[in-house]
């Protein structure tokens, strides 16, 4: 995945929001990155500083909430943690019709600015 373009996407959202709120400086940006999103959180963190240069987000801290993957089996009516991106197969009944309910997030959730 494009962690650099993800970092740039974060900066785009930050800049728009800073403008909306009349802020001149951003101190902190919080993002949710799900374990099943296909995005490498560490790589995003690595790219963030470079992407933020020259923008209102320059010098800001990036806080990443890594959201654990969760799936729901409609047969067992139970939630479980899928082992990886690979599949959401119920560990109890081996059912395939499971729905992923968490872990695919890729979102800017909060900003601290002034």
């Amino acid at each position: 995945m494009h962690e650099m373009s993800i970092a740039i996407g974060i900066i785009d959202i930050v800049e728009a929001s800073a403008k909306e709120n009349g802020a001149r400086k951003v101190n902190r940006v919080t993002v949710d990155i799900g374990e099943l999103s296909g995005v490498e959180a560490d790589a995003v963190a690595f790219c963030y500083e470079a992407s933020a240069k020259g923008s209102v987000a320059e010098g800001s801290a990036l806080i990443i909430n890594r959201i654990k993957g969760r799936a729901f089996c409609p047969e067992c009516e139970k939630e479980f943690t899928p082992p990886s991106q690979r599949s959401a197969v119920c560990p109890d009944c081996n059912g395939f019709e499971c729905k992923i309910i968490a872990g695919e997030e890729l979102q800017v959730t909060q900003m601290e600015m002034e």
């Binding site: 996407g9 690979r86 900003m111 601290e112 002034e114």
Partner: protein, 218 residues
């Protein structure tokens, strides 16, 4: 502003791409065009299969094509030889098509009477899985000269694809590819995935592909 304040945002990072993709979806729906996004590793046989499909279904289905490559218009030229309308997108540095590129390219395509739009993505099993181009379905190709465990190695691509096409089956006797195992692997990742095996060269399996393709058209 006096002193720092904390603001709740809740904005999806890929939202911009998804908004454009939805607009493409609406635009295609207006004229009744079904779009298929073809993905695979480089060299799996996408262009060859599309060209063969366009030739064999001429007169039955009116199909236009968007070709995606970093450089050259080689693939668009091959498609143009079949008589189909085609536009080449050169991504230059990007390794996948995104909705913005597709939206701009659609402005150069004359849609009159088109039933289907084939979007041939850049050869890459990673990034195209995450970019909505406004398609009805992603179809992932995998050739017998690759590994039969590819669906397990690139799960996101095979999970978001509605169908998998195993290509170059004419070469199967010469390689160690286990076709049944490959299908089993794909179903582990995506139990409902539709699977077709074919050879664009010999024609083996093409009728089943064409039948499936026609069922996808609106």
């Amino acid at each position: 502003m006096s002193g720092p304040k904390v603001v709740t945002i809740k904005k999806d990072i890929l939202a911009k791409n998804d908004e454009i993709a939805q607009a493409i979806r609406a635009r295609l729906a207006e004229t009744g065009v079904t779009a298929i996004n073809f993905t695979s590793s480089p060299g799996s046989g996408k262009t060859t299969l599309l060209a063969r499909t366009l030739t064999d279904l001429k007169g039955e289905l009116n199909i236009a094509v968007l070709e995606g490559d970093q450089e050259t218009d080689n693939d668009a030229r091959k498609i143009a030889e079949t008589g189909a309308k085609v536009v080449q997108i050169n991504t230059v540095s990007a390794c996948h098509l995104d909705a913005n590129m597709v939206s701009r390219a659609l402005n150069d395509l004359d849609f009159a009477g088109t039933d289907m739009l084939f979007i041939e993505n850049v050869g890459n099993l990673v990034c195209p899985a995450s970019y909505d181009l406004g398609e009805k379905m992603k179809v992932a190709l995998l050739s017998v000269t690759e590994g039969d465990d590819k669906p397990l190695k690139y799960p996101k691509m095979f999970r978001v694809a509605g169908a998998m096409i195993i290509t170059k089956t004419d070469l199967a006797p010469h390689v160690d590819f286990d076709i049944d195992l490959c299908e089993e692997n794909a179903r582990k990742v995506n139990p409902g995935i539709h699977i077709v095996r074919l050879s664009a060269k010999t024609g083996d399996g093409l009728s089943a592909w064409y039948e499936y393709l026609k069922s996808l058209a609106n």
